[in-house]
């Protein structure tokens, strides 16, 4: 890209073209997120380690005394890989919802950003990108905890941040969309209880979807998190197959759909 320069008043940017999704705008918005991250990374990192640890202790060891294996997989390892999707979901959908609503409605920082040469599309894309990069990285935490619990490291695990990134992108954009249509922050409770909780339980995280009645089993196919769980497991156990391309395709489609939806829904409300 031609780095746009700003001359002293008068001669500025006369030759500069107006474009969509400029890297400089995305980087600018994300630099704000990075600066803020410097304030809260300790809390985020703490919970990203402690949460999977508790899941593994409660489900893996507690529940695992009843169920020792799922298929060929040790139950602790089954949960450790499944919880990656949970971590990605929580670290993308919630920031998507709460950060967006707070920055838009309470702090009005989005007003300030949009008064600068940043478009709605750039603002939302940058926010979602940042959340999903973070979700991808923190999605590794359950695997690290799992390794401490005896999960065998596998080169395929290196793909997990990318899977987490794509899944996180979709759910972050989903969160932004929810924030856009919610009248108050309390309305998020509807989404958390009626949408996110079932998504996270019926995804093959703690028990295989195949144990569900046929109706629910079919529904699970529409759950992006289910496809995330499958991909993460296959990658982590070194079992990637052709079918995984299908899972990846679903996640990419979900991400693209949610991205456009977030831009149209929030954009309509940011620009009146």
């Amino acid at each position: 890209m031609s780095a746009p320069t700003l001359d002293p008043p008068g001669g500025a940017g006369a030759t500069r073209r107006i474009r969509r999704l400029e890297p400089a705008a995305l980087a600018g918005v994300m630099s704000r997120d990075v600066a803020l991250f410097g304030r809260y990374w300790k809390a985020t990192t703490f919970s990203s380690i402690v949460q999977p640890t508790i899941y593994l202790l409660a489900f893996g060891l507690g529940f695992g005394s009843l169920v020792s294996r799922v298929g060929h997989v040790d139950y602790v390892q089954y949960v450790a890989t499944g919880v990656v999707a949970t971590a990605v979901l929580f670290s993308s959908a919630f920031p998507g919802m709460f950060n967006t609503f707070i920055r838009w409605q309470f702090q009005r920082t989005y007003d300030a950003v949009l008064a600068a040469p940043v478009d709605v599309e750039e603002l939302i894309t940058a926010e979602v990108l940042w959340i999903s990069i973070r979700a991808g990285v923190y999605g590794l935490a359950p695997l690290l905890v799992g390794i401490a619990f005896g999960l065998k490291p596998n080169a395929g695990m290196l793909l997990v941040p990318f899977i987490g990134f794509i899944t996180g992108f979709g759910f972050a954009a989903f969160g932004v969309t929810v924030a856009a249509v919610a009248k108050t922050i309390d309305n998020f409770n509807y989404i958390t209880s009626a949408v996110l909780t079932p998504l996270f339980l019926v995804a093959g995280t703690f028990f295989p979807v195949s144990t569900l009645p046929p109706g629910l089993r079919t529904l699970a196919q529409f759950n992006p998190l289910y496809h995330c769980v499958q991909l993460v497991r296959d990658a982590s156990f070194g079992l990637l197959r052709l079918a995984d391309l299908g899972h990846a395709a679903v996640l990419i489609a979900f991400a693209l759909l949610m991205w456009r939806l977030a831009i149209s829904q929030l954009g309509r409300r940011l620009i009146d």
Partner: protein, 301 residues
């Protein structure tokens, strides 16, 4: 480039409706370069809507808007690159330091990487915040936060600045600080459009004042021109008992003298034309407030 020619800001026949409410109703406005232009009007006159339309955060239903020669909303991003905005509401990130906020906005305004530290330093100096550079916003006083908002709008040395009610809700001392800041800006040759509902603010800072009421400009000129045209040269203020004030008010109405209640007095405008018919009272030069009330029929706080 546009029909606006040399105008820094040009609005023609601009209309903005919110359902049945017409916030801006056929607004025509032209701001020449290098001028500090005051948009004066009571609350609800449509000033903030107008300001938001200049950054394309509100889209006009009708009419044409150009800023710095760029047509809005199509070329708004380019015009936003070259202008700065100081919002009415504090929208700072409370968790970040002054330096962090200014650095983020230096990036948003595409200040080249190597120039950013100097731009941030310059903005901190303008806003007199150098000793507070690494304090987080939450710990700043209200006046400091407002100065930081101004600094943020100037980070890229824009040639046009929008100031939306820059001193609303500030105590008098902080307001003075901000006024001198805006005055310095004006002397440096930057074009400024400032909305305000404080008469004194417009009178002190603006080269040209446009009075806005019900979404339209109803008068425009230098403060002195507006006073002369709409309030005359002198005002006589008659003090007395409520009964006396009522009598004077009635007399003024009968005689067709422009008058208004002004605190504990009745003020009769254009006293110089009354040829000794005016009741006894205190004579003073007419001011912008008299003109404003004569124009809008509204008292201000």
């Amino acid at each position: 480039m546009t029909s606006g020619g040399e105008a820094a800001i040009s609005l023609q026949g601009v209309v903005k409706r919110y359902g049945p409410i017409v916030a801006v109703n056929g607004l025509d406005l032209e701001v020449r370069p290098g001028v500090c232009f005051g948009l004066l009007g009571p609350n609800g006159a449509g000033k903030s809507t107008t300001m938001r339309m200049l950054t394309a955060q509100t889209l006009a239903d009708e009419g044409e808007i150009s800023v710095l020669g760029y047509e809005l909303p199509g070329e708004s991003k380019q015009s936003r690159l070259e202008m700065g905005v100081v919002p009415q509401l504090d929208n700072l990130d409370v968790e970040l330091t002054c330096r962090q906020i200014l650095t983020v906005f230096a990036r948003l305004y595409r200040v080249p990487r190597n120039d950013r530290p100097a731009a941030v330093q310059r903005a901190l100096e303008i806003a007199n915040l150098v000793p507070r550079a690494d304090t987080i916003v939450r710990d700043l006083s209200g006046g400091m936060r407002r100065r930081l908002l101004v600094a943020r709008g100037l980070i890229h040395q824009p040639r046009l600045v929008l100031l939306d009610e820059p001193t609303v809700g500030l105590d008098p001392q902080v307001r003075q600080e901000l006024w001198s800041l805006i005055d310095e800006l004006r002397s440096s040759g930057v074009t400024a459009l400032m909305s305000t509902h404080y008469i004194e603010e417009a009178e002190r800072l603006a080269d040209t004042v446009a009075v806005m009421s019900h979404g339209q400009i109803i008068a425009q000129g230098t403060p002195a021109e507006l006073v002369r045209a709409h309030a005359g040269e002198q005002v006589v203020e008659v003090y007395g008992s409520p009964q006396r004030l009522a009598e004077v008010g009635e007399l003024a109405t009968q005689q067709g003298w422009p008058s208004r209640r002004s605190g504990p007095a009745v003020a009769i405008m254009r006293a110089e034309t009354l040829d000794g018919l005016a009741p006894e009272g205190v004579r003073r030069p007419a001011n912008l407030e008299d003109a404003f009330v004569a124009l809008t029929g509204q008292e201000i706080e």
